[in-house]
Subunit: 109 residues, 2 copies
């Protein structure tokens, strides 16, 4: 037997989870939101949808949109976005460690 | 900010989670699967679908189906079903405690 844990953070409606976090992580690394969703094999519309939904629900911007420029513009994480991603990663890492050892303790006979 | 955790247990495809566990808990209390899904406001077809999917994926029966009888028959949990539900409840209780204190530690400033 295996287990799977999904965590969403939110104010009103579950909005910030694995998908948005991965999108932001790619964006941080690649410097562009379009490079980020392409690298993930995610559609343009899906990427914008989950990002906007999270930003609207959380009440702050996660990604800075810069328009134009010589290289077509790039996207970076906002200060608040960066902080949230850091906390999310820490939370998930600790939760995964705990849930795995709990699983072994309770389910392994 | 709040958070929401969803856990599924499974072999091949996430199949056993909150819904099936609640259905089983009601069935244990009420002695009948039909009373159980009615008490939960769940449809007959949904209840059977999630129960069968979990049983097929896990490879054992969770609920004994008795047919007929003076009171139309009842349903009880199988021994394996009872064991699984007990472990699930323990796992979820401990995970909820941990995830809540972790949330306060990491997200509360």
């Amino acid at each position: 037997m295996k287990f799977d844990i999904k965590v969403k953070f939110y104010n009103e409606e579950p909005s910030f989870g694995k998908g948005v976090a991965e999108l932001m992580r790619h964006c941080q690394k690649l410097g562009s939101l379009s490079k980020a969703y392409k690298a993930m094999g995610m559609s343009n519309s899906k990427a914008w949808k989950i990002l906007k939904r999270a930003e609207e629900d959380l009440g702050f911007e996660l990604v800075n949109r810069s328009i134009g420029g010589n290289n077509g513009g790039g996207s970076t994480l906002t200060e608040q976005g960066e902080q949230l991603l850091k906390k999310y990663d820490l939370y998930m890492q600790r939760l995964e460690e705990y849930s795995q050892s709990l699983f072994e303790e309770i389910f392994d006979e």
